[in-house]
Symmetry: C2
Subunit: 407 residues, 2 copies
């Protein structure tokens, strides 16, 4: 039966499709399926004891504050902790440059809300993060896709796009979701210079920066930009930087942060007031208690060890089993790698057969703002245990052997 | 120094002013001010022990689930608990009619996102809830204001407004924020009938329904609508109903819910996916643990006792001290009452003098969508202890005596 609300939806509601990936993932939620489809952290690395201690401490010492309304900007000690963490990487910011959000998805939404007029173009990597496309589609964004290789966005293609007047550049520099690629230092530097030359600012999305399993840490775009512009202790630059506690602590507490010029933070605060008043006080205080004594530095070492092993098992199994004609990235960190099938294969069709064999992934098509990528796939290696990863990767490899030989 | 983002804001950003009330309240945050300005619950009634027990239980038994990503719709047992609570009031809904949101502010935002095209009109009470205006201003809403008396919206004024094709009617039926007024049964019935007659749906915002200190519970509009329409066990009606854990448990955990036809919930879920993926799993599981054994029924009795005493102290002091020519509402529940000064007095001017005397409130002007209300004020009675309420109400009364006698 139809509801009276049916004819009252606003124009933007039509652009809010349910995520293809989420719908597909529902199919893969049967417990006997090995799913490389999601983007979940390993539950084994959640620091349950530290959480319990922090809950007890916060409720015993500041319970009335923890359960009360608080400021939109975020819990001051937590903003201070993030500011100190950031200055370790030589980016000189103050707590006033930080907004706490309910996950990075909310930050992406607010960026759309603040900056995207219907029809505006955003420069994105191809492939790019699906959640960003979902957030900005709701505001009527269009996209200019820049192809990638194993060193990230191919910067030679960027300059032409910038001359077409896009609103901003969206880049995931470290162990990109979905491709696993890391943007090289030279390209980072070049993007910062081009952004300045054409006056097009940058949204830098960095959920995985701490999860590097080999190689050297590369400086963030926000750091390179502040150096390039010679900011003197006050960041007024070209970059809005996003990061999150989801990958280093827990996604279930929905806690992330934005670093931006203070004027932009003020606008983001206004958006957040109207959107949800503030992020849960309790969660912010717990994250601060868990994180304040340097715990996170030690904790990410454990996460790195666990995920590195899982990545290695997946890569080894692919080397052993996957047929000639298939390729994949070898990410230096993060949670995902990217499979590339022979050009004429459709990974969505492969997924249907894979589900019959009780293994799943996300077809790469979903991560392409302007189509393409039919023969690609995203595989998550953080969630399943090593023996499960070996089994699932083997199943998938054997299926691909059959398909490639028929092909 | 200007940031490069400055010239890139979208048109809607201009409509996201920082809340006048929030800015004013910053002035009143000095610790020696008695503030009736905020809308905070009393910290004395937060059930800290139950929270601690629930945190321990959840982390011991379902820690990996509590800290993990979860579904956008909300934690199933919590949706079930809310569905059972709602059916006690004879509204037949299923968990599929419920979406968990990060506070009711987020539900208001999503309603704007789903239904408001720039320039659309919304019918609101005058005065009305400021947070709703903030949420919908961002989508370019305009308002038709319907005057109120002590029985709520004056329904005789409503019919003409409905003939002008507004998107929906927004009503706070119980102990309205800001006026404290409760919509009479007869008017509730009439609004439901008129909404059906003109095909204009209703957003019913009910944060305070459980906080009644005297008189009989009145049926919700969602119940009356389902009766009027004869829904047979599946709610497909005219009303989107909002309520929250903020006033009966804790606002700092940011937890609220929407009840709506299942088709509308699906659209809201899409909006929430793009906006913040889901509300914190941990918070939902804790609220369920605290609430599941009937605790909330007992707990609201304590809250009612505490707030009733505070309301009574404020009303008694006003009776004693406030000068002839001032009037106020006598709310049967909730957290606010509404002061009306002589017609030519400006409550914003009174506030400046009041702050000098270390007492604060919110000028009523802020709650008027289309101006007016200069001589009105909102007073909160839930937050301060009784002796503080007496002192603050006395200070304000003595100031008003001086001003009225000069007048």
């Amino acid at each position: 039966m139809e509801t009276p609300w049916e004819y009252r939806y606003a124009h933007r509601t039509q652009r809010m499709g349910s995520s293809v990936v989420r719908e597909l993932l529902k199919l893969t939620e049967q417990p006997d399926i090995i799913s490389f489809g999601g983007g979940l952290p390993a539950p084994e690395v959640f620091p349950l004891k530290e959480f319990k201690d922090a809950c007890d401490y916060v409720l015993d010492h500041d319970g009335a504050q923890a359960l009360q309304y608080s400021t939109t900007e975020g819990y001051s000690p937590l903003r201070g902790m993030i500011a100190r963490h950031t200055t370790r990487y030589n980016v000189s910011i103050k707590p006033e440059n930080i907004l706490i959000t309910s996950g990075s998805q909310q930050a992406l939404d607010f960026i759309g809300r603040l900056f995207v007029n219907r029809g505006d173009y955003i420069v994105v990597e191809s492939p790019t993060y699906l959640g960003a496309l979902q957030a900005w589609n709701a505001y009527g964004a269009q996209y200019i896709s820049i192809p990638m290789d194993e060193h990230g966005m191919i910067v030679d293609e960027l300059e032409k796009a910038l001359r077409n007047g896009p609103k901003f550049i969206y880049v995931l520099p470290n162990f990109q979701n979905p491709s696993g690629a890391t943007l090289s230092l030279e390209r980072r530097q070049r993007i910062v210079e081009l952004a300045d030359k054409y006056g097009v600012p940058i949204v830098e999305d960095d959920p995985y920066g701490q999860l590097r399993y080999e190689g050297e840490h590369l400086p963030s775009l926000v750091y390179l930009d502040s150096q390039y512009r010679g900011d003197d202790g006050t960041y007024t630059g070209n970059v809005i930087y996003l990061s999150t506690f989801s990958k280093i602590l827990s996604p279930g507490i929905r806690l992330a942060w934005v670093i931006a010029p203070e004027q932009v933070i003020k606008k983001l605060v206004n958006a957040k007031q109207a959107a949800d008043l503030h992020t849960a006080t309790f969660n912010q205080m717990i994250a601060y208690e868990v994180g304040k004594g340097g715990f996170l530095d030690e904790h990410v070492k454990i996460i790195r060890d666990v995920y590195k092993e899982r990545r290695d098992v997946m890569l080894e199994t692919m080397d052993e089993i996957w047929p000639a004609g298939t390729q994949w990235t070898k990410p230096q960190g993060g949670m995902f790698l990217w499979g590339i099938l022979p050009k004429d294969m459709d990974s969505a069709e492969v997924l249907k057969l894979a589900i019959e064999r009780k293994v799943a992934f996300v077809p790469g098509m979903a991560f392409h703002a302007n189509g393409g990528g039919l023969n690609t796939m995203r595989l998550n290696f953080s969630y399943s245990k090593p023996e499960i990863i070996r089994e699932g990767t083997t199943r998938l490899g054997l299926l691909l052997r059959e398909l490639v030989s028929k092909n």
